[in-house]
Structures are given as structure tokens and as C-alpha cells.
């Protein structure tokens, strides 16, 4: 958007002086320059990432910490088994180091490939405050402004509430996660929560377009504008402005504390929810808990040019690392979301169906769902189901 308007303003300046000829050149240049940008404005209609050679995509893989490496290994195993035409470029990020070299390498790799699959990188509280969260750095550098999470009740998972189907769209780059804090007076810390009109309009636009694409009827904005009148007030105003352009979709708003209460008592009333960063964090974790836990829900971070896929609740799971008890569902489904993004829909649906069959029909659950299965058992079951469907697979 910014580049487009910049070129237009340049052509407006040049035209009066040089008349038709150079102005035309600028216009032509302007069109070529901005066409790439315009195409990537649409939700879910991003042009396929350029890292495709010989029919195979290259995707950056960031193992992260805790259960990330083992779960991503399982994802690679399933992909290799299903003969998915994706090659992974593994980039390790050491969260114990204070330098930002590792994460910058990862960011460069994602810029090169366009798509990434990642585990959560731990942010140690013992590090000095100048060391920023690596995950946050990744999201802000790549401008992955929309975090999308789809919470759906699974028939095979016993939960208190059934028939939940909520899409949560969370602003991913600003808000309370701007990492702007200062202590002018010792013992008094001021934290800045940044809400901008541009980013709020952008995320609202994304939410409404996604709702329209998926055939959803209602978008709810979650805010605390009664207290944060300027910040959340601006966010709400932007949502209302965008809502007026979508008369087929109902728009309403709800204060965040009421939202969490309604979520634990009547979650079926929600359809699509859009909110700033911190409320998104809280609400998405509540919703993940409602449908069965952090091991079940995948999440995606979309930007204008890049997409990064991970588990929705971004847990490191240090206490269950390398014990073969972690639930691979979230990471496998994140891999399927990535395959859909790469337009490899057949592979995505076959793996997704295998995961759901394991979860719902075979009822092979890991410890977090109250079952006895191990991670490898679940992954083996998924691969067996894929093989039984008769598609081309490698050796089990």
C-alpha cells in the first residue's frame, strides 16, 4: 500500500514538469512495481512463494526449543512418507545467546523461501531486558501482521463444551508487545501499548475478508475501550469503519472480560473474533483450552509476503521434551495449513484426514488428552492411515 501511494505521488510531481513522455514511463514503471504488491493484498490468495525448483518447494524449518525439534522431526517424517514435494531448510536458533545473529539468519532464510514452519523459541526470563523475544522479533521483522487460529471441537475429544467453531484473528505486531518500556523513576516502569490506525485497519480488513471467504456470518471485536479510550477506542473505530464496507457480515463488539466469561459459559455464540495483541493471546489460549488443549490447535502467522506456521498457543513444553508424550496433532495440522498455503491441497487433506481419523475414530490420544498413547504411536497410526488410502508412499 505504501509503495503504491509513493509511486503515485512521484508521478504527480514529475508529470507537470515533463509532460506526457516521462510521466508515462513513470506510470508504466509504477504499474510493474506495484502489481506484485497488489496481488498479495488478498487474504489466502498470496501468489505461490518463489522458492520452487524442479516442482519442489523449499520451506524454512526452525526447530526451536522444548518439544519443537521432536515434533518437527515427526512432521518431516510424515511428509517424507507421503512423498510431499517440500524440502526443508533447517535453521537453528539458540535462545541462550544474547546476540541476534541466529534469528537474523532465520529471518533471511524466511525472506528467501517465503514460508516457514517453526517451533517456539524460548524467551528466558533470566536474560537482561535488552534481549528481545526471538519469536516477537521474527514476527515484527517479517511484518506478519495477522495471527489466525481456528478452534474447532473434535468429536473424539471429550470437553465440557461441544460444537465450538471459532476463528480468532489477532493483531500480531503491535499493541502491548511493542517492547517499549522505560523506567524514568526507579521503581516506576512505564510500558507503551501502541495502537495505530494503519495496523488496526489492516487487521480488521483481513478479518472481514477471511470471514467472507469462509462464509462466516459474524465478526466480534474484542476490546477494553471503556478504560483504554484512545488505544482500544481507535481499534474499535477502525473495525467499525471496515465493517461498514461488509454489509453482509454482522459486526459487534465485546469487552474482553465479558468475552472470557462468555467463552467459558457459552462459547457456541462466537463466530469470528478480531482483537489486538494481548487480548488475542489470552482469548486464543482460553479457546485452545476449551477444545482440548494446546496440543490440538495449529496457528498461522500471515504477512503481506510471508507466512509462518506453528502451534497456536506457542508453547515450548520444556517439561515434556524428549519424553515421547507430546501431542503431535497441532504441529501436524500446522504442516497441513502450510501445504494448503503452498497450494498442495491433496497432500494437506490426506494428512489432515489421517490425523482426524486417529483422533476421532481410533481414539489414540496422548497424555494431555487423558490417553495412553505416545507421540510415535500417534505418528505411526497417521502414516498407516495415509498408506491405507492407497496413495503413493515411501516405506513405513
Amino acid at each position: 500500500m505504501a509503495a503504491h501511494s509513493a509511486v503515485l505521488s512521484v508521478s504527480k510531481i514529475i508529470n507537470p514538469f515533463w509532460g506526457g513522455r516521462l510521466g508515462n514511463t513513470v506510470k508504466v514503471f509504477g504499474t510493474t512495481l506495484t502489481s506484485h504488491r497488489n496481488k498479495t493484498q488478498l487474504t489466502g490468495e498470496n501468489i505461490p512463494p518463489p522458492a520452487k525448483y524442479g516442482g519442489r518447494h523449499t520451506v524454512t524449518l526452525i526447530p526451536g526449543d522444548g518439544i519443537g525439534p521432536e515434533l518437527l522431526n515427526h512432521v518431516r517424517e510424515v511428509f517424507r512418507f507421503s512423498c510431499v514435494p517440500v524440502d526443508f531448510e533447517v535453521v537453528h536458533v539458540n535462545s541462550a545467546l544474547e546476540t541476534e545473529e541466529d534469528i537474523n539468519n532465520a529471518i533471511t532464510a524466511i525472506r528467501r523461501n517465503g514460508v516457514a514452519l517453526k517451533g517456539n523459541i524460548e524467551t528466558k526470563h533470566t536474560m537482561p531486558p535488552s534481549v528481545k523475544s526471538r519469536n516477537n522479533l521474527l514476527r515484527t521483522s517479517l511484518d506478519l501482521y495477522a495471527n489466525v487460529m481456528h478452534c474447532q471441537s473434535l468429536p473424539g475429544v471429550q470437553t465440557r463444551h461441544q460444537n465450538i467453531d471459532i476463528m480468532i484473528i489477532r493483531e500480531n505486531t503491535e499493541g502491548e508487545y511493542s517492547s517499549l518500556e522505560h523506567e524514568n523513576v526507579p521503581g516506576v516502569v512505564e510500558s507503551l501499548k501502541i495502537i495505530t490506525r494503519n495496523n488496526s485497519l489492516r487487521i480488521a480488513e483481513y478479518a472481514f475478508r477471511l470471514a467472507r471467504e469462509k462464509g462466516r456470518r459474524r465478526v466480534t471485536a474484542v476490546h477494553k475501550a471503556n478504560i483504554m479510550k484512545l488505544g482500544d477506542g481507535l481499534f474499535l473505530q477502525c473495525c467499525r469503519e471496515v465493517a461498514s464496507g461488509y454489509p453482509d457480515i454482522t459486526f459487534d463488539s465485546m469487552i474482553v472480560d465479558n468475552t472470557t466469561m462468555q467463552l467459558v459459559s457459552k462459547p457456541q455464540q462466537f463466530d469470528v473474533m478480531v482483537m489486538p495483541n494481548l487480548y488475542g493471546n489470552v482469548v486464543s489460549n482460553v479457546c485452545a483450552g476449551l477444545v482440548g488443549g494446546p496440543g490440538l490447535v495449529p496457528g498461522a502467522n500471515y504477512g503481506r509476503d510471508y507466512a509462518v506456521f506453528e502451534t497456536a498457543t506457542r508453547n515450548t513444553g520444556k517439561s515434556i521434551a524428549e519424553k515421547n508424550i507430546a501431542n503431535p496433532t497441532a504441529m501436524l495440522l500446522a504442516g497441513c495449513m502450510m501445504l494448503d498455503h503452498l497450494k498442495l491441497h491433496d497432500y494437506a487433506s490426506s494428512i489432515r484426514n489421517a490425523v482426524f481419523t486417529t483422533m476421532n475414530e481410533n481414539r489414540l490420544h496422548t497424555a494431555d488428552l487423558g490417553g495412553q498413547g505416545t507421540t510415535s504411536e500417534v505418528v505411526q497410526s497417521v502414516m498407516r492411515i495415509i498408506q491405507s488410502k492407497g496413495q503413493l508412499t515411501a516405506e513405513l
Binding site: 472480560d257 465479558n258 466469561m261 462468555q262 467463552l263 467459558v264 494481548l278 489470552v282 483450552g289 476449551l290
Partner: protein, 146 residues
């Protein structure tokens, strides 16, 4: 909190998280109709109130659940060290809800406001009052109304 809320005992947190989590927990235990609160100041000044709003849509209809207000009063009695009265009212209140015979609409019952308070008083009196015949009359009156 949504998966295993029983693991938590006492939670302390800053303002915004407290706002969100307190409403979340209220939703877990039955809603705003049963949640009391107290605001304690540094010099001993304290305000006790229920956390629900003014609910203008049900004013005057005898539908409100006054448990939250009553439990807040119980918190106040504890704060001012009137423990005897506090224990009596608390037992009466919790017993009424445990019995499940007289509950307001938000707790999926069908009773009106005054019946709930009467029921509580009946339990109170039957336990602590020597005028037991009076409480028996009151209970038969309630049975007739319900």
C-alpha cells in the same frame, strides 16, 4: 484455568490480567450472580460489592440473584471481625444454594428474588432461632408458593 482450574489456590496479578481472569473465573463458578468482591485500601478503608453491572433490563422484575451481594456482605462482616454473624449467614446462604430447591434464573432455577431470600432466612431461623414454630409456618408458606 479452562482445563484444570482446581490446580490454582491464590492468584495475584496486575490490574488488566486481574480484570480478565476474575471474569473468566466467575464464568467457571456460575456467573456474576454468585461472585463477591472486596476492595481493600491501605488505611483499612474497604468497599465490598458484587462484580456484576447494574442490569437495567431486569430492574423491578424480581429476577436478580442477590447471592453476590450477600456474599460480599459476608466478606465485609469478616473484615470488621463480626465472625459469628458472618458464619450464620454464610451457612444459610450456601445451604440454600446446595439444596437447589430455590434458585434464580441465572442458576437455571425458576424462583423469584424474594423467595430466595425467604428461603435463606428460613434456614437461618430454623437453625439458630428458638421460635421454631415460626420457622415451620414460614416453610409451609414457601411450599405453598413454590
Amino acid at each position: 484455568m479452562v482445563q484444570v482450574p482446581t490446580q490454582f489456590d491464590v492468584l495475584v496479578m496486575p490490574n488488566l490480567y486481574g480484570d480478565i481472569l476474575s471474569d473468566l473465573c466467575a464464568g467457571l463458578v456460575g456467573g456474576l450472580g454468585v461472585t463477591p468482591s472486596g476492595k481493600i485500601g491501605a488505611n483499612g478503608a474497604a468497599i465490598f460489592e458484587s462484580v456484576h453491572g447494574t442490569a437495567p433490563d431486569i430492574v423491578g422484575l424480581d429476577l436478580a440473584n442477590q447471592t453476590a451481594m450477600l456474599l460480599s456482605t459476608i466478606m465485609m462482616l469478616r473484615h470488621i471481625s463480626l465472625h459469628d454473624y458472618r458464619n450464620k449467614i454464610r451457612t444459610a446462604c450456601l445451604d440454600t444454594i446446595r439444596d437447589k430447591k430455590v434458585l434464580t434464573e441465572d442458576l437455571r432455577g425458576k424462583s423469584k428474588l424474594y423467595l430466595l431470600s425467604c428461603a435463606k432466612n428460613a434456614v437461618l431461623m430454623s437453625r439458630y432461632c428458638s421460635y421454631s414454630s415460626f420457622s415451620t409456618d414460614l416453610r409451609s408458606y414457601l411450599a405453598m408458593l413454590a
